[in-house]
């Protein structure tokens, strides 16, 4: 039985965000496909295949869109507001994290009109520092968790890692999936783990941190796997699906992000649940960022064009966007000394 085909028929139901009780009800209506390992495998393997040449050609074709003048100004500000400004180094210190928070709050000291970034993304032990530095602002604190980046730890450790970050004040959790389990075909185990982490995102007051699920697409390797992982993550309750950790050779690419946007679009058509997408790693220039925004615009459309539903996991991207922004407002290129290095 080709479940995917049946479910991929567009249904007319009101859109609900991935977080909240309504989404949980919609996902419950799909419970039959996650009822057993066998059912989940049949569902994921029944999804339409991906032709790599065609996918990459489509992504490249959208990359030739010419974004100029007013469109460029709009895209630059939107991109800045979508950045999860990231530092994930062994050498991170409270000082470094505070500096990055200052940058997120005030990206361009010469122009207070510059939008703020969406979030700061740090390791769990830096969450308290970041939360303190960002207190009272709308910039979110995102924390990687679940034994990032490899995810090679026992489930209780991963859940403790998550709960610790949430308790320290994280608004968002970026978890990694167990690629080993996925690649060996233990889909239900990956599914259960995501669900458990989603549970661990709950706070005592009943609210919850938003969950981003990182697939590490470079390790999943095939586009068919990326589509299956996307559906798996969304069925398990992901608020965002995210390409990569930034720690492996191949991170976000236009093609894998396009594929994940298609999955999000199809999931929305099937369940009415809206899920966000976050490409991360390797996006460094304004030109790159605009290509990704074009992918969003022409695949899922306007409803995804805000930092509620699309993010860039990046660090050096911000300064390139700021330089391009200055160029648009002054007509001249400045240079790396006219943006702050943190």
């Amino acid at each position: 039985m080709r479940y995917a085909r049946r479910y991929a028929l567009p249904v007319t139901m009101p859109t609900v965000p991935s977080f909240g009780n309504e989404a949980a009800e919609r996902l419950a209506s799909m419970a039959d496909v996650t009822a057993s390992d066998g059912a989940l495998r049949r569902f994921l393997h029944g999804l339409p295949g991906v032709d790599p040449v065609g996918l990459e050609a489509r992504a490249a074709a959208l990359g030739t869109r010419s974004i100029k003048t007013t469109a460029k100004a709009y895209a630059i500000d939107l991109s800045i507001s979508m950045i999860d400004l990231t530092t994930l180094e062994g050498a991170d210190t409270p000082g470094k994290v505070r500096a990055l928070c200052a940058k997120a709050l005030n990206p361009d000291p010469t122009d207070r009109e510059t939008p703020r970034t969406a979030a700061i993304c740090v390791y769990p032990d830096m969450v308290a520092t970041a939360a303190e530095a960002l207190r009272g602002s709308d910039v979110k604190v995102a924390s990687v968790a679940t034994a990032f980046p490899a995810g090679r730890a026992a489930l209780p450790v991963k859940l403790a890692d998550t709960a610790d970050a949430v308790a320290a004040g994280a608004d968002e959790i970026d978890m990694v999936i167990d690629r080993g389990a996925f690649l060996s075909g233990r889909y239900l185990s990956v599914f259960e783990e995501i669900k458990a982490v989603k549970e661990a995102c709950r706070r005592e007051d009943g609210s919850a941190a938003r969950l981003k699920v990182i697939f590490e697409t470079g390790e999943l390797s095939t586009y068919d796997n990326i589509r299956r992982a996307s559906w798996l993550g969304m069925l398990a309750g992901a608020d965002f699906i995210k390409t990569s950790t930034g720690k492996v050779a191949v991170n976000a690419t236009p093609a894998n992000t396009l594929l994940m946007l298609e999955a999000v679009r199809d999931f929305h058509a099937t369940t009415g649940v809206q899920v966000g997408v976050k490409p991360a790693g390797g996006i460094r220039t304004t030109k790159d960022a605009m290509k990704f925004l074009v992918l969003v615009n022409e695949t899922v459309g306007e409803e995804w064009l805000s930092n509620e539903w699309f993010r860039f996991g990046a660090s050096s991207l911000l300064n390139d966007l700021l330089m391009q922004r200055q160029k648009l407002s002054t007509g001249r290129y400045s240079g790396p000394d006219y943006v702050t290095v943190d």
Partner: protein, 493 residues
Amino acid sequence: MAFEYAPAPESRAVVDIAPSYGLFIDGEFREASDGKVFKTVSPSTEEVLSEVAQASAEDVDAAVKAARKAFEKWSALPGAERAKYLFRIARIIQERSRELAVLETLDNGKPIKETRDADLPLVAAHFFYYAGWADKLDHAGFGADPRPLGVAGQVIPWNFPLLMLAWKIAPALAAGNTVVLKPAETTPLSALFFADICRQAGLPKGVVNILTGDGSTGAALVGHDGIDKVAFTGSTGVGKQIARTLAGTDKKLTLELGGKGANIVFDDAPIDQAVEGIVNGIFFNQGQVCCAGSRLLVQESIQDELLDALKRRMSTLRVGDPLDKNTDVGAINSAEQLARITALADSGEAEGAERWAPACELPGAGYWFAPTLFTNVTQAHRIAREEIFGPVLSVLTFRTPGEAVAKANNSQYGLSAGIWTEKGSRMLAVAGKLRAGVVWANTFNKFDPTSPFGGYKESGFGREGGRHGLEAYLAGAAEPSNERSEREGERDR
């Protein structure tokens, strides 16, 4: 706030179009013998771009004589020397590609995205490819010492003006022939710019002659006694006339005519890529492509899903100013063609098919037709049988692979077909059963100079491109060329 792309027009300043152009005969531009001219307009604005000469029978004669005279030396050049000219032409085309892309977009109406990313790179690639063959003809499998045929009369269509010129001229010259080429009446400019490139490359006079004009010029050219070979790309109707004209003569003929390509989508297809392939198959160049995938054959079990995805995708097509870099679908080439498309689309509706087009605003001036699809089409409908040559897709369904093959082959044409499936064995089995010159699998409208292209049935005969493309311009050792028989004739005297 929505993400609206600001206008991003390619600059017209890179191309300098003269107010008038003459005929390119024997290395010089000259007026028509009777002084007649006609105008060429930009289909997207109806603006007059230039005035070009209307070649008379007398001009045809002069051009054929110039080509005949040039043939002696050109064919005697070592292949490596001919290759140098072809390489030089290819390089100049690359260097002037932006200018030529803008020119082609102005004269033809197709989007700059296509002329820039498809037409021009393919034109240069074609010259590079055949330049490489020029000194290897002895080893091409056509006998030990294959000879050129002589003078080739070539008539090309308006849908890919410069690319069709390249398909015709590159192999002809590589093989040692000289040519007289007539571009289409509505798109003469890029061929005239090519004439300038020939001069820039120092190509000997008379090797390439360009005659602009209407159908009467073409008829005079293919009917001329002084040519040895006719190569035609265009409508099946005109192709039949040419075949009649040539019947009983010793002229060689290749015809690349119409098509009604079937794009077959099986239920195990990669759906998102299939949708892209369908769009590319029928809306590339406004569907004015002989090998367009104008019939969509979709397996009934995924019909709804696929059509929903296709309609959603069609709604994102950007129709408008062809010079804007973000335009996906440009203008129809002429008022005449627009009328033909409109009439056939209307017949589809009249015969009971269901018409759908995305909401899209068409410019006021120029010739425009919105991307359109018809569902509930049957094999009996005119829109399922006749070539529309426009952005109109007819959707039919099938239940089994056998039915798909039967329906795909049930056409007077046989130029192209597409197969969409993730199953390799099905792909190969179906491809082997399709009577079409080109079968694409999980892609569509992909061209490459190394790949032969041509049709079955009323889509014509002969192949262009690849090693096969040389055959149309060479006489093997077993088959004496006209040149050789003339020499033998002299000996007999």
